[in-house]
């Protein structure tokens, strides 16, 4: 993985010192809140319902064990002993004191981490496939590109005060595990017939109030032009993006209102002007960054581990966990472990400091010192020998992190919602908890199969409800929490925005409503192999409407 060089170290240290000065000026009264707010937001500091919140970047989701240990340390020392992994490969601490934040940032810098641009109207933490560098279907590792983009976008003087936030995601395989098409810029690394690497570029995707699937703006972009092309897109957006209404300020609205063709022309004109300039990426620089992400020294081991096969026969729970939470690795004899932070009745994405320490230990011992955080609020051990799976499982079991539910209905994404968030209009976590308890039975979950359930506590859609196979959006209706349901959304390579199924449900009705939807699917599917999403695409919304609103249908 990437390691800071002298330049990066100096940069982050200077940035911490700068923020320390800004906090001091705020406390002394030199800076008013109006002046301080954009500065603190550029360093990931929010003011939420109960306290400040610090959002720390895990760039493209990759971290090592000492970084994970530092997150645990911060949770223990400065916070309430836990952290919350988010849908953007960040971790949030919910209770830091303002005066402590410069010290926290200094601690983070000591392990090459930061909170730069994790909020504010700027280019946010660049995300990537959490299986990058490990998955069997990968064309190329997307992380070198994400790292170059991270560097280029860091304190880019021209793009710190954009019309609205700007999110970039990069994938390197045909399967999209990063919801790439729901980003302001989505990049897919590809190889052409000559074996050269380049990018397919999507623009104007996003969730929020107006969900949109990214539009293909360029089918092939040579890798050397990546920064020039992104800079051209950002410049056009900064100049022409709407600033009169924050709900219409994302680039997706500009793409929609201007039309892709016209916007593309503006981008291409600017790109042609700058493409052979200073941002052109020299091959040797790309190679140098790529070198950091070279695969670890894998052992030549058999494809099957007999000891594990035996353990699976002996222990049904372990077998279930392997079947559900271990994915195919590019390297024979290895697997990718998904640690689902989704125990029954738990808050999705939350981990205690003790759990983070366990994860760090496991990463160090069994996964070549690498961990990942996924946009589905789970932690990944990307390079585990199959023969080590039992040891990993046992340790996770002891730490309460062995939920065998990756990709199943209780592997729920949920934003913090009204329990923490100043923007939320309804709670999300208690809804997730109740659903997780209702569907706790593992046989039932396995019978239901792959089903992505995503919950947002307001229209900003941090819980990705638009791309849930079942999506839930909490709103406030005359002081009461009301939950609207969308069906048929998907954040993968077959991207789709879910459709609102009908009137919303009260807090004490929503779990039953989801159960009705699931039961309808089970009774209508063609076979056990037809997933919820496939069945929905075949059946359309009507059978689900009929089941959810029977009285209305009869009337």
């Amino acid at each position: 993985m990437y390691r800071y060089d002298e330049f990066d170290r100096e940069f982050v240290a200077a940035r911490v010192a700068q923020f320390r000065d800004q906090v001091a000026r705020r406390v002394s009264g030199e800076l008013s809140e109006d002046n301080f707010k954009p500065l603190r937001l550029h360093n990931g500091v929010y003011l939420q319902l109960h306290a400040y919140m610090l959002r720390v970047a895990v760039p493209y989701g990759t971290l090592n064990s000492s970084q994970m240990r530092m997150l645990a340390h911060i949770a223990r020392k400065y916070d309430r002993d836990y952290g919350h992994f988010t849908t953007r490969q960040n971790i949030q601490f919910n209770w830091p004191k303002l005066a402590d934040i410069p010290d926290i940032l200094e601690d983070l810098a000591s392990v090459e981490m930061h909170a730069i641009q994790t909020s504010g109207n700027c280019i946010r933490n660049v995300t990537a496939d959490h299986f990058a560098g490990a998955s069997a279907d990968e064309v190329a590792d997307p992380r070198p590109y994400a790292e170059i983009l991270r560097q280029w976008s860091t304190i880019h003087p021209e793009f710190l005060f954009l019309p609205r936030k700007f999110k970039i995601a990069v994938i390197g395989s045909p399967s999209d595990r990063a919801a790439m098409q729901f980003h302001d810029i989505g990049l897919e690394v590809r190889k052409n017939d000559q074996g050269e690497l380049g990018l397919r570029v999507f623009v104007g995707g996003g969730l929020g109030r107006t969900p949109m699937i990214g539009k293909l703006i360029r089918d092939w972009l040579p890798e050397e032009d990546m920064l020039s092309y992104c800079e051209a897109i950002l410049r056009v957006y900064n100049l022409y993006g709407r600033r009169d209404n924050k709900y219409k300020a994302r680039i997706k609205i500009l793409v929609h209102e201007t039309g892709l063709e016209e916007l593309k022309e503006d981008v291409e004109v600017e790109f042609e002007r700058i493409r052979d300039g200073v941002l052109k990426l020299p091959d040797e620089d790309v190679a140098a960054i790529t070198e950091y992400f070279a695969p670890p020294q894998f052992d030549q081991i058999p494809e099957r581990s007999d000891s594990i096969e035996h353990a699976k026969l002996d222990n049904r729970s372990f077998a279930r966990w392997v079947g559900q939470n271990v994915s195919e690795h590019s390297q024979s004899g290895y697997g990718i472990v998904t640690v689902a932070l989704k125990g029954t009745g738990e808050a999705p994405g939350d981990a205690t400091s003790a759990q983070m320490d366990v994860l760090a230990d496991l990463g160090e011992r069994y996964s070549h010192d690498e961990l990942r955080v996924s946009h589905e609020q789970n932690v990944i051990l990307p390079h585990v020998r199959l023969s080590d799976l039992k040891a990993v499982y046992d340790a996770l079991l002891e730490a309460g992190m062995a939920s065998p539910n990756a990709g199943l209905i209780t592997d729920i994404i949920a934003c913090p919602g009204l329990d923490y968030c100043a923007l939320a209009t309804a709670r999300s976590i208690p809804v997730a908890q109740e659903l997780s308890q209702r569907f706790a039975d593992l046989d039932r979950q396995n019978d239901i199969g792959e089903l992505k359930l995503k919950i947002s506590g307001c229209i900003n859609a941090c819980g990705h409800h638009h791309v849930g196979h079942i999506g839930i959006l909490g709103v406030d209706r005359r002081g009461e929490e009301l939950y609207q349901v969308t069906l048929g959304g998907s954040g993968d390579e077959q991207a789709a925005v879910g459709e609102i199924i009908g009137r919303g449900f009260a807090a004490d009705e929503i779990t039953n409503a989801v159960e009705t939807i699931v039961d309808t699917y089970l009774s209508r599917r063609l076979s056990d192999d037809e997933t919820f999403l496939d069945a929905y695409r075949r059946l359309g919304p009507q059978p689900f409407k009929d089941a959810l609103y029977p009285a209305k249908e009869a009337a």
Partner: protein, 170 residues
């Protein structure tokens, strides 16, 4: 009351701003609004005495004056609020796309924490009203970093080996 800084030093502002109905004073250096410029562009670019500057509001585009830049020696770009960053890209276009060598003056809601970003986007003059920002600029503190992950306008900074995009201030 605002203070004008040009190339890092306090400067007396001798330019006259012209907006709306008032006639453009003969022989004076003037900064005219885009509306005035568009209404009288021929007369303005053929004046015998007095230099010409144009003031662009945040919503005005550079293209509106691009054909006349040979006759314009100053472009003032407004920041209606701290959060409105359009002028950063406009300064950048003026320097990079149009090779404009005159003064690019930032006006409006300018705070010290943005001045270094403005400089790297092509601004060389700042008309500042915010007192703490004036004080900091007089002390020559712009609170920016000396390390940059991206090249900037008229960059004389040192390139970083292995990172063609990064720079260190000399």
């Amino acid at each position: 009351m605002s203070t004008l800084f040009v190339d890092g030093a306090v400067h007396e502002d001798r330019w006259v701003s012209v907006d709306g109905e008032q006639p453009v004073p003969e022989g004076e250096d003037v900064i005219v609004s885009l509306a005035v410029f568009e209404a009288q562009s021929h007369a303005l670019v053929t004046r015998n005495a007095g230099r010409l500057g144009v003031y662009l509001e945040a919503g005005d585009q550079i293209e509106a004056i691009a054909d006349h830049l040979d006759h314009i020696v100053l472009v003032a770009l407004d920041f209606p609020s701290f959060a409105d960053g359009r002028a950063f890209s406009k300064a950048r276009l003026l320097r990079d796309r149009y090779q404009f060598e005159g003064q690019i003056r930032a006006t409006g809601d300018i705070r010290i924490d943005q001045v270094s970003h403005m400089r790297r986007s092509g601004f060389d003059a700042f008309q500042v009203s915010h007192q703490p920002t004036i004080d900091s600029l007089i002390e020559d503190k712009d609170s920016g970093l000396d390390l940059f992950y991206q090249p900037a306008v008229g960059d004389s900074a040192e390139r970083i080996a292995g990172k063609n995009w990064a720079r260190r201030a000399l």
